[in-house]
Amino acid sequence: MIKIEVNMELCQHYGQCVFEAPSLFSLNDADKLEYHAEADDSERDNVEAAVDVCPMQAIRIVE
């Protein structure tokens, strides 16, 4: 299991993570980020891709 943390102080809701891991990150009706705090190990590449594309570098994998 992968634990995901998003620093919501940093997050600017740009939505780049949504393109990389759509099953884990989404923008709600108010265009605010929502995410799953846990992901299956098979999602690691997608979670890492979401971390990589975040312009605010607000997403962290808790190892």
Binding site: Q12, Y14, G15, L27, D31, D45, V51, P55, Q57, E63
Partner: protein, 408 residues
């Protein structure tokens, strides 16, 4: 001896890091060495013209997290590479040591272009963490800061310095700030917002002389005007770090030419199967738009090119028959960038500069939040938003689906 030595990545910033990670993701388990000029492990540069200047940030706060998969990568930091021999498969560091490689990744990026004046106290640029920390110490309330250049770095530094209580003047040759990236209309609007915060502009002007013998004292402009100052920030663009490749046969006419698999291309047009180019220094075709190789200095490009190069190189080294399939996947990264100046957030997707004069307001209006679309042959090739975020994502998708349309 193709298997002798590690994969050597020259350049220890975001592009080099993402390449190393992608090699491991592609199941390459052999040795990887990253050799970089800077003393710091890879870190994120966008905060350098913003947070690092305004609040003071350590390397730890901007460093990219290390991943378990790349724990055995060897990092040689503070070690500039001075030359490469593609025939002998070596690079040489400035201590004279030769390093053999089985494959080479060129990720040396850019450096700030500087004004051609003597090196005196008070001259700054913002490219590295050390640059930003040196400038931060001088941005004290009341300091007179003269910024030369009105691109993104110049405008961001000006906004940050103003917020810190400095007196800020921008000198630039264009008619408006950011005119090359955003066009005159958005540039004028950003200028108005800067001016409302007390930044002064000297536009359409070049610098003819620098005042001060030992410490920076100001600039004389081409119309004779004097702009006095205590701190000079040179934000006049960048130059490619490619001199270490001068003795090779690579096409260095603008950065380092690569094919769409990011293999380095020689002046005779042939691609090296074991030499790759990533990041700001790479001039590559992006089939999202057309087949014209371009360098793209946007934040996401080192990551996208690093992943592509790592995947292709990993498949080539694996010799498991996957290489052709990996190359054929194609490479169509979506250029993206972000900027914050005062209360304005600027965000862009695609390549607005490819427009053929067809620029449309997509939603909103200039005085508030607005999205501007840039068209080529009636197809959206770029979008820039002020004060918009998620609202831009449908335009991003339109660019991804149709940007190359309309070309014959």
């Amino acid at each position: 001896m193709a298997d002798a030595g590690p994969v050597i990545i020259v350049g220890a910033s975001m592009g080099g890091l993402r390449t190393a990670e992608a090699l491991r993701r592609a199941s390459y388990a052999g040795p990887v060495t990253v050799i970089g000029e800077e003393p710091h492990a890879p870190y994120n540069r966008p905060p350098l013209s913003k947070d690092v200047l305004s609040t003071g940030v350590s390397h730890e706060a901007v460093a990219f997290p290390a991943r378990a998969a790349t724990a055995d990568v060897e990092w040689m930091l503070g070690a500039p590479v001075v030359s490469a021999d593609l025939g002998a498969r070596t690079v040489t560091t400035n201590d004279g040591r030769e390093h053999p490689w089985r494959a080479l990744v060129i990720a040396t990026g850019l450096r700030s272009r500087r004004l051609d004046f003597p090196a005196i106290t008070g001259r700054h640029c913002v490219r590295t963490l050390d640059d930003a920390m040196a400038l931060r110490d001088e941005l004290v309330p009341g300091a007179r800061v003269v910024v030369v250049g009105a691109g993104f770095i110049g405008c961001e530094v000006a906004a940050t310095a103003r917020k810190l209580g400095c007196e800020v003047a921008i000198v630039a040759p264009g008619a408006e700030p950011l005119i090359r990236s955003l066009g005159a209309q958005l540039g004028a609007e950003l200028r108005r917002r800067h001016e409302a915060h007390g930044v002064t502009f000297h536009l359409g002007r070049t610098v003819s002389a620098m005042l001060g013998e030992f410490e920076f004292g100001g600039l004389q402009l081409d119309n004779g005007e004097i702009v006095l100052g205590d701190v000079l920030v040179e934000a006049i663009g960048s130059e490619c770090n490619r001199e270490w490749l001068d003795a090779t046969d690579l096409d260095l006419s603008d950065g380092v030419l690569a094919d769409s698999a990011l293999r380095a291309v020689s002046t005779d047009g042939t691609a090296h199967h074991d030499v790759f180019v990533v990041g700001d220094v790479a001039r590559f075709p992006n089939l999202l738009f057309d087949e014209v190789p371009r360098r793209v200095e946007h934040w996401n490009i080192p990551t996208d090119t690093g992943k592509r190069a790592g995947a292709v190189l990993g498949a080539w080294l694996a010799r498991d028959g996957s290489f052709g399939e990996v190359v054929a996947r194609g490479f169509t990264p979506m250029p993206a960038f972000w900027s914050n100046q005062f209360e304005v957030s600027v965000q862009a997707y695609g390549l607005p500069a490819l427009n053929d004069g067809d620029i449309r307001t997509l939603q909103g209006d200039l005085s508030g939040a607005v999205a501007i679309g840039y068209y080529r042959a009636d197809h959206l090739v770029g979008v820039v938003g002020l004060g918009l975020k998620a609202e831009l994502l449908p335009y991003r998708q339109e660019i991804a689906a149709h940007a190359a349309g309309g070309l014959t």
